[in-house]
């Protein structure tokens, strides 16, 4: 579609910032397992997924650049916490492996389904990227499903650790689907079917999987999504992450790498 319509451009930008920021930040968190993974294979898995996510975010920042935003490196490395649009879920520290696996499972399935929906986007460049990313993210969801499934059916400790994390993280995960200010435009223009639709797809996908593994989804009456990330309200964890992530870049922002 031709972006001569300002409303479409603003809606697309808002959505792309959320998506790219989620990927950059969770990619950075994934990379924090490098050297610390509980098994060599898992160390490699999270390192590889970090590279995927960060690399994918670069192309989304590239789309933003096409729409008039600054260059990807500038956008990725020179903003502070109030200017980021990631969900609060992705900025939390890696914690222990149980937390990271549950976050990985909940986030990556949402991400896969988002791109699956975007395959049909009227925004052609994004639809093309979505077609590509789907195939790559499939490896991420496959990994999450395998590990959470194995451990949920492991022993009492592994099962209860995952259940506790699922209970604690659930509302943060719901925060992924915080409705944006342009949902109507996105839906009407065919750019994206919206956060509500995505959340419904996500629940249809993961509830049966988790139930089959013997894990219990928190009761709907207790759901209380953690919103704010999409509008720049973040936990205390994001700014220190950004300070560390941009440490080398900040030494000389004009340097050629």
């Amino acid at each position: 579609m031709d972006f001569f319509n300002e409303a479409h451009v603003n809606a697309a930008k808002e959505m792309l910032y959320k998506m790219a920021d989620d990927q950059l930040i969770i990619g950075h968190r994934n990379s924090e397992w490098t050297g610390l993974g509980p098994l060599l294979e898992e160390d490699i898995a999270f390192s590889s997924m970090a590279q995927d996510k960060i690399g994918q975010s670069e192309h989304l920042y590239g789309l933003l650049h096409e729409l008039g935003e600054s260059e990807p490196d500038t956008v990725a490395f020179t903003r502070n916490s109030p200017q980021f649009h990631c969900s609060q879920l992705v900025e939390l520290p890696i914690g222990e492996y149980d937390f990271s696996l549950i976050r990985h499972f909940l986030f990556d399935f949402a991400e896969y389904l988002r791109f699956e929906m975007l395959v049909n986007s009227s925004y052609e460049n994004l639809a093309n990227i979505a077609k590509k990313y789907k195939g790559e993210i499939k490896y991420h969801t496959m990994h999450a499903n395998t590990w959470v499934s194995q451990l949920a059916q492991g022993n009492e400790e592994s099962k209860s650790r995952l259940q506790n994390q699922l209970n604690d993280v659930w509302n943060l995960a719901l925060g992924i689907f915080e409705p944006g200010p342009h949902e109507g435009v996105l839906i009407d223009s065919g750019i994206f079917a919206g956060e509500e639709a995505l959340k419904a797809e996500w629940l249809s996908a993961i509830v049966p999987l988790l139930t089959k593994m013997g894990l219990i989804i928190p009761a709907e009456s207790t759901w209380n999504p953690v919103y704010g990330g999409r509008t720049g309200e973040h936990s205390d964890h994001l700014q220190p992450l950004l300070d560390e992530m941009t440490e080398v870049y900040s030494i000389d922002p004009s340097a050629d790498w």
Binding site: E41, G55, H59, N128, K131, E136, M142
Partner: protein, 161 residues
């Protein structure tokens, strides 16, 4: 000079990490246009996060500017087409094996862990192998062990489009 000749020339440009295989045989070079001395090359990324994307653009450009009949080179990387491992040619499969990598299955479409487990050893061809990791030292590789010749090996990861 014409697109076919350029394609042949680009068979000299090898993947920076897998030196036996050319970008052409990997299926990365997805369009070649040539007109009045100007070459327009389209590259399609294998994996979005591949750190070699920019290096590949440079390698292609650097090789083509050496040609006297080519006065201008324009290389662009886009997602207009989506790369899949099915775009690796038969020569490409042979080159991967030469490097000690198990080539990806064709038409992998809806692959599963079972698909990945069913991999032959690139050294001894035995199917008695174990999948150790669906991730590897680079985005494009899986990790395996051959129970027959007792060697670890890597596979090229199937990616559908």
């Amino acid at each position: 000079m014409n697109p076919e000749k350029i394609r042949e020339i680009l068979k000299e440009v090898k993947d920076p990490e897998i030196p036996t295989i050319s970008l052409v045989d990997l299926g990365i070079v997805t369009d070649i246009q040539f007109s009045k001395g100007k070459a327009d090359i389209e590259l399609t990324p294998t994996f979005a996060g591949c750190p070699a994307l920019k290096i590949m653009e440079d390698l292609v450009r650097d090789r083509l500017v050496q040609e006297p009949d080519i006065t201008e080179v324009h290389v662009v990387t886009t997602f207009d087409k989506q790369w899949s491992t099915d775009m690796i040619t038969e020569d490409g499969h042979k080159a991967l094996l030469q490097h000690g990598l198990s080539p990806p299955k064709r038409n992998c479409g809806n692959f599963s862990i079972e698909t990945l487990e069913d991999t032959a050893c690139p050294f001894c061809s035995s199917k008695d192998t174990t999948l150790n990791n669906t991730f590897g030292p680079t985005l494009c590789r899986t990790m395996h062990y051959c129970n027959n010749c007792k060697q670890a090996f890597e596979g090229f990861k199937p990616v559908a489009s």
